[in-house]
Amino acid sequence: MLENNHKDMSVLSDDEFRMKFRNWLETTYPDEWKNPVVFRLHGAEETRWLRMLYDGGFRCPGWPRKYGGMGLGLRKQLIYHEELERIGAARNVDTGATLLGATIIRHGTDAQKQKYLPEVLNGDCLWCQGFSEPNAGSDLASLKTTAVLDGDEYVINGTKIWTTMAPFSHKIFLLARTDMNAPRPQQGISMLIVDDMKQEGMIVRSITNLNGEAEFAQVFFDDVRIPATNVIYKVNKGWDVAKAMLGDERIFIGSPSLANQTFTVLEELISQMGKETDELFKAEVAKAFCDLNDLRALFAQVCDAAIRGVADGKTYSTIKVQASETFKRISDTLINVAQEYGASVGHPDLDGFEKDILAFFLIARPSTIYGGASEVQKTIIARDIFGPLAKR
């Protein structure tokens, strides 16, 4: 009953698929969401967009068809993302599809699949992810939120923070400690589902970020009760599930699209300021251009490797670091070239230029923090290069 009833697009040629999605986007994608200065769709907007994709047969490209997804291979998924970028689509977090859904498909029970997948598909249910805590960021395994079994319910106490889109979400999946006596911090953690963000004991306190948006939040759990069946995979095995959450899709965190978008704005800005040939900035802009070129090359090579199944963990960490650092560097160049305009709130006072360059700069900051901070990724890469530390 979960089966996708739309035509199977995985059998199309790559070009046919590209044109099909492109045509659909061109006729369907709302103009007011194109090349947004506001980067992401929230709440009702996101639901509307997911519903449009669902109705059009373009929802959940990576999910198997028997669970209602499009059942596309990685190559077509890449095309899917390229076309979204081409039309200038706003990003949406879609935690329900990329993280929760993919995990339920891999590790969930039949009942969980029946219950959760359809409402993710049609956009009715938006999810957020409760991993980080005030004292467990990069060191996630030191998390302190607990879930204690009481009859056929778990009782959750603790707090999660930096929970992206929590103020707009209906449900949350989280990591909590279910065995307080486990010998290692990574053990004794379970992945749990709270079915209602508004249920008794839940408090969501939104946090305003540096760019003035209230997208993320701190979430408090005060004796929150959930059915004992709301465990994903096995009790005390939450760490293993969390580590394996992103399969092939890890690659998309290395996409050059944000760096690319920022460079496009940089070009517009230079042209608007009449600085195309200004020697003072040319070397910097040329550096940004080459950085972007090489990031795109690396992404293309890594995608190729992933499609052939030969990309390893070090490669994914490398592309994540490079994509986020490059995005940051190009946004730095943008601010630098803008000179006095660089610190303008909203778009600078330049005729016909409507890009909020400060927002680009500010939104670039956390890209090296979320999804595994650069320092964590570099530690992973270093372990691959040097092996484990000799001491310890």
Partner: protein, 376 residues
Amino acid sequence: MVWRHDNEMQRMLRDSIDAHVSANHSTDRVRECREMSAGFDLQEWKSMAELGWTGVLLSEESGGTGLPLSESLPLAEVIGRNLFPEPFVASAIIAATILNAAYSKAFQVIAEPLVDGSRVITLAFQERPSMKSVAEPSVTCKGGKLNGTKLFVPAWSDITDLLVTCVLDEKLAIVFVPGNAEGLVASPTKMSDGSLMTTLKFSGVAIEPENILLQGQTALDALNLAIANGTLALCAQMEGLATAAFDITVDYMKNRVQFNQPIADFQANRFVMVDLNGEIELGGASWRQALIDLEKNGFEAAHVSISAAKARCSEMVLGVTKASIQYHGGIGFTEDADIGLYLKAALRLSSWLGGAAYHRAAAYDMYREGQVDAGK
């Protein structure tokens, strides 16, 4: 071409070179070559020819293997990795590309000695320290006489013959000049890696009509393709060199103990090496994509990505080898330590055919010209 994965042909080539390297090559040989007059070993050039390397790109009509560039580049990579001083890129890639375009009777006479390793062929095209306007030389060929000066010519030796760019009948031409031609004076400069970079002065050197290999548009196309091929091969060579220096340094860092722990355990050191590893990955990806671009779309379309690749690889190979010296400590600054050989080779390769600053600016300029042409 797959990221870090060879196809069948590439793997065979790599196996052949690996076998040859372990049997015949060492850093001792690199040091010996530095003392030789040409900066490389004419006998080893002959051995490389017997393995088919000097003719790898040359068309089969001349006895070469006629492989496409992408299939040939594992050779450049391994040559870089092992610091081979023999002029593979200058002769077997750059000069060979010109010869492939100049298929003729003379071509047979010139190309066969390259295939069998009895001669080295090199292209003399630069006249100033820039890769700009190389298609507009001031060397002239008038009334069968060649006059003018070329700079930065690689691969000069007792067995080297020349392909020279010049203006003939107001058009670009490429002519063949035997190394022992009358009126040719060579002034070699020793480079950091022991190779020679030579200034060639042509004073009324006689050019027989059959030695005018290419003229006009075909000469221009051949020159552009030769530089494009050579630049990418050089990138592959630099990646090989950087990877070797990186591996040697990682090994050293794991064994060198200070403050009671291997210096590889200090996070500050680890992160620097991780960053450099990222640069190697970017450089490797950049030239591979540029190569795909070149083989698919031709050199005019690929100019931007080739320049970006050369910029990245030039900077990357210097970054890696400089850090390698640093992490070797005092030993790294000694003549005895091999790691210094890598830095000195990196200096030479990174600047040859244009350094990082030049190519970054060139990539961006050409990109912008493309934008203007496309009416954007």
